[in-house]
């Protein structure tokens, strides 16, 4: 079956299921579903960036802020309908991603991580700097209404859940096709070996920028949905914590896996509320119980990374294989799940090693103590390092 048709088919089934679900689960669950779908969009974009193109971003919350603020400004000043605000937020964030991507394509590993982190730290303060336009700490309101054509028996929250889920489904279908396309394959080639990819005729920088654009566009859409869910945008909504949560969700779910983006987002949205209520109902003080979700993230993250380095989706696939359902699982999950498993396992190598050092890296790592004093010699046994590879080495120190 052609990929597009298969993805569309699954999406239509999912849409019907979601439609039935939203009609029966009540406003509070719809409210959570709206938040969940907003996170799915943003995390899916991030997981594609990290898992497929091999670039790390700790700052995607900033792109969410771009999308959210653009949407809020348009709604307040121009009063566009929601259907027009959605693409505007996506385009705005994608532009921001393109600009940032140009800089990012020159950076590797921790340097890229640091730069994106800076973006997440710095951007919220823009809102307080330009208080008259962006509303400062108080932020801007983002109140949408249910269009008259939808009918009067649909509540606002119900409507928001529809919008959010529809956006998430469209995003997932588009991303699923993209990662299976020529672009997706090229990204994987770049991720696994930049030099080989360049030698094969791929434009590495352009592909990396494109990955940033796609990821930022998803973040922008997610940010806009989050603003709709929160009925406001403020620096507090797009804090550094949000950026780190996105990364946590992507890693928890399984880097590179779109299904993993859903599991990760579900953990992110459902666990804190549950835990905080549990903590409060067990008589913990506010100070303690407000820290419980953060503690839980840490514990879950460590546990998942130890037990299932390929995240929840990887664990599910593993479980399916153990129980003999591999065939079924592979058919259902398709190449994406396989991809996530492979991408995570090959991550350390893809991140830090280059062709010539692929095999020698472990030894050089373990022989560090002895060679510490004799640095010049330890460098010299690798005369074959090309200039390009050297610059990468520098980049990943």
């Amino acid at each position: 079956m052609p990929t597009l048709a298969r993805h569309l088919g699954i999406a239509i089934v999912a849409a019907v299921v979601l439609l039935l679900a939203t009609n029966s689960i009540g406003d509070y669950r719809n409210y959570q579903l709206t938040e969940l779908a907003a996170f799915v969009v943003a995390v899916a974009g991030l997981t594609v960036l990290i898992g497929l193109s091999g670039q790390i971003s700790i700052g995607n919350g900033a792109f969410m802020a771009v999308g959210g603020y653009i949407a809020a400004l348009i709604l307040a000043d121009l009063n566009w309908p929601l259907i027009a605000i959605l693409p505007a937020a996506v385009v705005g964030a994608a532009l921001a991603g393109a600009i940032f991507g140009v800089a990012a394509a020159r950076l590797r590993g921790p340097y890229l991580a640091g730069t994106t982190l800076m973006l997440a730290v710095a951007l919220p303060s823009v809102a307080t700097r330009f208080q008259s336009v962006l509303g400062g700490d108080q932020g801007l309101g983002f109140f949408v209404t249910v269009p008259g054509s939808v009918g009067s028996n649909v509540t606002l929250i119900h409507w928001q859940a529809w919008v959010s889920c529809a956006a998430a489904l469209v995003t997932l279908v588009l991303l699923a096709n993209l990662v299976r396309s020529r672009v997706g394959r090229s990204w994987r080639a770049v991720r696994d070996d930049e030099v080989a990819a360049a030698l094969a005729g791929l434009n590495v920088a352009r592909l990396q920028i494109l990955a940033f654009v796609v990821s930022a566009a998803c973040a922008g859409l997610g940010g806009m949905l989050l603003a709709m869910w929160n009925e406001s945008v403020s620096p507090g909504l797009f804090s550094l914590t949000l950026s780190i949560q996105l990364l946590t969700a992507a890693v928890l779910g399984g880097l590179g896996s779109l299904a993993g983006a859903i599991w990760g987002s579900a953990v992110l949205v459902l666990v804190p509320t549950y835990l905080e209520n549990l903590a409060t109902s067990h008589g913990m003080t506010a100070t303690t119980s407000s820290s419980v979700p953060i503690l839980a993230y840490g514990v879950v993250l460590i546990a998942v990374m130890l037990a299932f380095p390929s995240g929840i989706q990887g664990a599910l696939v593993l479980l399916a294989r153990v129980t003999g359902l591999q065939q079924l699982a592979c058919r259902a999950a398709g190449p994406l799940a396989w991809q996530s498993r492979r991408s995570v396992q090959s991550r350390p190598a893809a991140e830090s090693s280059r062709p010539e050092s692929e095999s020698s890296r472990p030894e050089s790592e373990s022989s560090r103590p002895e060679s510490e004093s004799s640095r010049p010699e330890s460098e010299s046994p690798r005369p074959q390092s090309q200039p390009a590879a050297e610059s990468h080495e520098k980049g990943t120190l």
Partner: protein, 430 residues
């Protein structure tokens, strides 16, 4: 493409575990034959928490007292207050949770101007009573756009006018500087101050954002402008930071602080903890001489029947929790009393609208030193206050009660009617 299937699966799981609640058959949400469930958002952690985190427990203590004495026409008040960390984006989350999941009858005393601004439109669109907001922003007085929202405490415009008229009379010709939180809280206060203080006297207006605790540049600017009196509309943590930064810059103007940022006990504690100085009396020495205002009876006036009543409730319900008997606790007990007053007035079978109608019909003066402004066209609460000076950690009133309106030209006048005594039962009569 497990991704999309996964999204569906998650939503189905959500569906499976959601079949609780929303089945109570009574006509008014949050009200059963035996209970009234109300909710609130409060800063229990974060920058606004010091001091303010005592307010909800104190209001709850008053509700427990009422519940133990028959409740409201037999119904017990169940008060759920959730932590929003003074972060507007968390406020919307917790308020949605209260409304959609806990199915509360009303949102009561939601704390903070920026925080509550994020949820007032939602509450009004759902016609949920949003009563006695813990903020003096003029924004709550909008009966046409926010018909279900009412203020309670002295609004910042009135407070600014009362402080401003005092400054105008007592610091004639001196240079005045403002230091305020850069949102509707501070801006409303400055509006009131500017109505009363001649423009020629105002030499510098500095503001801060509550997320940025580095305020030395602003304080240096006030010093450079040679302000002899600094009026601050600040939350307690920033009043303490202001005082300490002034000390650091060897700058000691007369401080005039809005009621919300001047509780002596909270301030003394914050000063001691920020300066890491635990020697006895350190905090009180620094608050000495601060001019502020009060719209509830002073904690020091032990002969006041309200203070006697609330001290009794405090001893029974709050002293075991190791809360201090300070201005924040007094605030919580008082606003709790006002809610009970309004609920009794709303009748034996209250609907959401009947609570709003009860407040629109006006509430008799009780806990406060000045009457309420409530009417169908005015949703402000307390209309006046007395000026006081902090001496040895206690607010000492200096002069009588002043009342005014929230217009730019309305005069500040003395209010000479004595405060009605507290009911002997401690519970407002229906």
């Amino acid at each position: 493409m497990a991704a999309v299937a996964g999204l569906a699966a998650v939503s189905m799981t959500a569906a499976a575990c959601s079949s609780s609640s929303s089945s109570t058959a009574t006509s008014t949400p949050g009200i059963t034959a035996t209970t009234i469930t109300i909710g609130s958002h409060q800063p229990l952690t974060g920058i606004a928490a010091p001091g303010y985190d005592e307010i909800a427990p104190a209001a709850n203590a008053y509700f427990q007292f009422v519940n133990a004495h028959g409740g409201i026409y037999g119904r017990k008040i169940k008060y759920i207050y959730l932590n929003d960390q003074y972060n507007p984006s968390i406020t919307t989350t917790v308020v949605h949770q209260l409304v959609l999941r806990n199915n509360v009858y009303a949102i009561f005393n939601g704390l903070g101007t920026p925080t509550h601004l994020a949820v007032a439109p939602f509450l009004n669109s759902e016609h949920i009573p949003d009563v006695f907001v813990a903020s003096g922003c003029e924004c709550w007085n909008a009966p046409s756009t926010l018909p279900d929202t009412t203020g309670w405490q002295l609004d910042y415009v009135r407070e600014g006018k009362i402080l401003g008229s005092y400054i105008e009379q007592h610091f004639k010709g001196e240079k005045i500087g403002f230091f305020y939180q850069d949102d509707e809280f501070g801006q409303d206060g400055v509006k009131g101050l500017s109505d009363e203080i001649p423009k020629s006297q105002i030499v510098s207006e500095q503001n801060y954002n509550p997320t940025n605790i580095k305020i030395a540049p602003q304080v240096a600017a006030l010093k450079a402008a040679k302000a002899q009196v600094v009026v601050s509309f600040t939350v307690p943590a920033f009043t303490a930071l202001l005082k300490l930064t002034m000390l650091g810059l060897k700058y000691s103007p007369q401080l005039v602080v809005s009621d919300v940022g001047s509780d002596p006990i909270t301030l003394a504690g914050l000063l001691a903890s920020f300066a890491k100085n635990t020697s006895a009396g350190f905090g009180n020495a620094l608050t000495q001489g601060i001019i502020t205002d009060g719209y509830l009876p002073s904690l020091g006036s032990t002969s006041n029947s309200w203070i006697t009543l609330f001290k009794g409730i405090y001893d029974q319900y709050l002293a075991p929790k190791k809360l201090p008997f300070d201005g924040n606790v007094l605030y919580g007990l008082s606003v709790g009393y006002t809610f009970v007053q309004a609920m009794f007035k709303a009748g034996k079978n209250p609907t959401r609208q009947s609570l709003i109608n009860a407040i629109n019909g006006g509430l008799p003066q009780g806990v406060s030193v000045a009457p309420y402004a409530y009417s169908a066209s005015d949703h402000n609460g307390i209309t006046g206050a007395y000026i006081g000076v902090i001496q040895n950690g206690v607010l000492v009133p200096s002069g009588g009660v002043l009342v005014t309106d929230d217009s730019a030209t309305g005069p500040v006048t003395a209010y000479t009617v004595a405060q009605p005594p507290a009911p002997t039962s401690g519970i407002p009569s229906p």
